[in-house]
Amino acid sequence: MVERGVDLGVDIGGLRLRYPTLMGSGCYGSGEEFAAFADLSKVGGIVLKSVTRLPRSGNPMPRLVNTSAGLLNAIGLQNPGIDWYLEHEVEKFAQRPCKIVGSVAGFSVADYAYVCERLAARLEIAAIELNISCPNVASEGETFACDPRLTAEVVRAARGVTKKTLIVKLSPNVTDIAAVAREAEAAGADALAVINTVRGMGIDVERWRPRLGNVAGGLSGPAIRPIAVLAVYEVARAVAIPIVGQGGIETLSDALEFFLAGASAVGIGTANFTDPRIPERIADGLAEYLAKRGLRSISEIVGKANLGFASAHEYEGDAG
């Protein structure tokens, strides 16, 4: 979208967005829920809640816990399963004034391929995001996203069943996210979403019990922003495909950190729970920021803080 002489449009591995913002999977329902509060024509796209082969009721309550500048969630992929989804839900997406990205989750490579193929076949779906933060039933429950080899397998399988833009969403809960990113790229990903939530836990100190029904959950919101910015920065140095940067973006300045770190678009999740007008404000702010500097497109800022590390033996930093 051209605003103030600035083109806010971006191309994410073939997916053209008029604004460089994607509403994070699981945070924005199917978009309809937010339509009364946010101008959907001023977001780039909506990533739908992840869908699985079979219906899932999700985790026991409580599923949400507030933490310092963050939110822990353990929804557990509640979704009606791909059959019901295709029959009752997908047709509604045709009416959205922005791009709709399907999100696929699964517990085996075959699951992913099956759901991906059926979902990608629908016209309403512009692209597919693979949520690979699920445990693989076939390998003692190891999470797909935590093993470069499993990641490669699942991406290859999904790649085999669709020509649509394939975004692979990486987990920060790994020793070396760049290594996983490289495997995903080699296996055929068109773009990467960086990052999913960080594993965490809260304990009720009166009742001596985990605060989430599922014990552990995923941390999102401003608390994880520095972790996400670094992940984007490192992944951007490892791959050539575009990155959707996300994790705690709430303001224009937050979004700029991600673009400068190497993201071509940003994901906005938890911030919508603070104020659904945030995505629009960020888009407006971006136009103004670029215009003020005489820049004409997002691409002119992508990766511009990418100076590399200071020292050869980069100190891990985490031990001052």
Binding site: K49, N66, N73, T274
Partner: protein, 271 residues
């Protein structure tokens, strides 16, 4: 309880009055005529924090008349502490009205309202509506201690009979509000809002006496608009409030409290 949310939107409101009926309890009045006009009893709003870095806060709509809406809240943590700092003249954005309120009919002539603690915030509007329709309204109202039985006079002035309880016996009878309810002559319809144990016990009494009951559930919300599935409760798949989902083999569906609720029929909950 089956009304579309089409009238919900973002309201830019202004604080016009503020009082503290008890320590740690705040009522703020807001200039918000469009919101007042759209509100039905039992609905709520998401209040957008000024400072960011926290999700919005779900608050029942306490009063809604002409240009004024008010919110009544207990200072429980960071976000309500922030709201408590608002003063007349300050701005506050609200999303709402949200959720499906109570289902009130002219045929409801003898109604009991059960309220515990902050639940009182969500039951003034249904009480006023029922009184307007000429119903007898009894308010069963419990709190920890006398000082926290805030706003009881407001209900009495409006014409409610009040049956009070406190945990420490400093006002009304000592004990749980549901004990007072169990000992009373049963109303024909029960509305309830308060802590989960109170709601469960109200539901039990209603089912035992075969009385219709509508419960306004409370949970920690994130989005408050149905987008995150973080606030669910199991209900029968046969409920008109069941979300668009295939029920599980045992006939249950997880409904979103914020979206399909917050008011549910006691006989349809499977919790």
């Amino acid at each position: 309880m089956q009304v579309a949310q089409s009238r919900a939107r973002v309201h830019a409101t202004e604080v016009i009055d503020r009082r503290e009926p008890a320590g740690g309890v705040v009522v703020i009045g807001l200039r918000a005529s469009a919101l007042a006009a759209a509100t039905r009893p039992g609905q709520y709003v998401m209040a957008v924090p000024a400072a960011g870095e926290t999700p919005a806060v779900a608050l029942g709509i306490y009063e809604a008349e002409e240009e004024r809406v008010s919110l009544l809240f207990f200072i429980a943590g960071k976000r309500t502490r922030e709201l408590a700092m608002l003063r007349p003249g300050d701005a506050l954005s609200l999303l709402g009205p949200l959720g499906n309120g109570f289902d009130l009919r002219a045929s409801d002539r003898d109604v009991g309202i059960v309220a515990g603690g902050v639940g009182i915030a969500s039951v003034l509007l249904p009480a006023l509506e029922l009184l307007r329709q000429g119903a007898r309204v009894r308010l069963f109202y419990g709190a920890r201690t006398a000082a926290l039985l805030v706003e009881r006079e407001r209900f009495e002035r409006a014409g409610c009979e009040t049956i009070l309880t406190t945990d420490d016996g400093t006002a009304g009878s000592r004990g749980f509000v549901t004990e007072a309810l169990a000992n009373a002559q049963m109303p024909k319809l029960l509305l309830a809002c308060g802590p989960t144990p109170m709601l469960r016990s109200t539901a039990e009494i209603a089912l035992r006496h075969d009385v219709r009951a509508q419960l306004a559930l409370e949970e920690n919300f994130a989005c408050g608009v149905g987008g995150c599935w973080g606030c669910v409760v199991p209900i029968t798949g046969a409920s008109a409030q069941a979300p668009p989902f295939p029920p599980t083999p045992n006939g249950v569906v997880y409904a979103r409290i914020c979206r399909e609720g917050p008011v549910f029929r006691a006989d349809e909950l499977r919790w």
